[in-house]
Symmetry: C2
Subunit: 251 residues, 2 copies
């Protein structure tokens, strides 16, 4: 039972008495989807290592190789300062109950303070026993539909991993994909607006006379509202030029 | 293609050219886990209805019965005001890119305004085509581990459903499970503190004399910090009474 010298920068996800190897493998994948690779496995039903788990884990198989096999929960939690138990149902226990978001925010805070944090996940069929939950400092409850609360093991792991990443990674709320985007400059947009205004004027678009001002203003507003690339601007120029050519051909 | 009379209060989740029936069923379960039951299915590879989907959906089978089968994406999106496309990889498209949280907050806001919102999920192997994404108003990108970004269809549906619920349900960050809990009153805690102080005084615990004040203060602070039930208080009284009896027996 080797101990890392310094506390890890991520929580351990502890699978307690997991049953199906496929679910262990899927849990490993879900962890690694969010950058977590510290797994502990307590008394897996079908022994260890588990070939079905390895087959399912595919790209996340390393987590299984490096997982710590524990005979019981005290063995798994001996070095942990703060333990969270994921549960689907109420336990009538007097413990704090965290949302997944609050739980992973708390976990991140404690880990930054040098503590070791574990998150417990129960066996597929019945979830954690009350004796397991009694060893935890707090409960995590996922806000599922009360009429249909059945999350499977890997889904529960996925949501906790997702919240861990949200709590620790810089996740911008909204960005605009910029890759390869060459935005039109203000001058280019101005030139486009003038081009359209000139040709539409010739075409008799601005009518009646007393509405010319507001019509031009609306058109300018439209151009300035649109996030246009240089390619958009070139295309719009080309469209107008083609209309003029078509008109001049006089078909 | 019947239309509901008023806009629904939830987004439609649109599975675009899904392949495995099992994944369609798992997606239905993931939706219903978070109270979403408006599914549309565009050109499923194996036809419709799909027995494997029904078998996997179990408790969420109703979603498949009620799902709208669409021949192509324009058919599925004809009545939608705002369309979000979930993608795993960057598309070099000039569109807003939302985090799942920001996307579902925006969806909730628009739905509250009477708009119809759809969320697109691509086929398992390759995800949405660029032509599919071009029909969306915005992109949703899950902040996965760049080294291992492989979310499956049902997992992506699960995370979006989870964020929908977070955006719309009152999810308290931290609560304490109260069910069946009979908290000790302030008077009961005070009585307990006095009991311990008295007996510990007799037992010679408060020593040396110049530390008595701070020792008593620390003890009071400890009692007031502990969230104790009436049963806890009774047990603590009993423990102290037993220590006194044991002393008085003089074994």
């Amino acid at each position: 039972m080797s101990q890392p010298v310094s506390p890890p920068s991520i929580p351990a996800f502890v699978l307690v008495r997991p049953q199906m190897g496929e679910n262990i493998g899927a849990a490993a994948r879900a962890m690694w989807n969010f950058g977590l690779d510290h797994m502990r496995v307590v008394a897996p039903r079908d022994g260890w290592p588990n070939p079905s788990a390895v087959a399912m884990a595919s790209g996340a198989g390393r987590l299984l190789d490096e997982a710590r096999l524990c005979s019981d929960l005290p063995d798994a939690l001996g070095d942990c300062d703060f333990v969270l138990a994921t549960t689907a149902r109420s336990r009538d226990m007097t413990k704090p109950v965290f949302s997944p978001e609050a739980a992973m925010t708390e976990a991140a805070r404690r880990i930054a303070d040098g503590q070791r944090v574990a998150v417990l996940f129960g066996p597929e069929r019945a979830g954690l026993e009350n004796e397991d939950v009694a060893r935890a400092n707090a409960i995590v409850s996922v806000p599922v539909n009360p009429a249909f609360p059945s999350l499977n093991l890997a889904q529960c792991v996925l949501l906790m991993g997702y919240e861990w990443r949200r709590a620790t990674a810089e996740v911008p709320a909204v960005t605009t994909e910029m890759a390869g985007t060459d935005w039109a400059s203000g001058e280019e947009v101005e030139h486009l607006a003038a081009h359209y205004e000139e040709r539409l004027e010739e075409a008799g678009f601005f009518f009646p006379a007393h509405k010319v001002g507001s019509m031009k203003l609306n058109l300018r507003n439209m151009w300035s509202r649109m996030p246009m690339t240089r390619a958009d601007v070139q295309m719009l120029h080309g469209m107008m030029r083609q209309m003029v050519r078509w008109k001049e051909r006089g078909d």
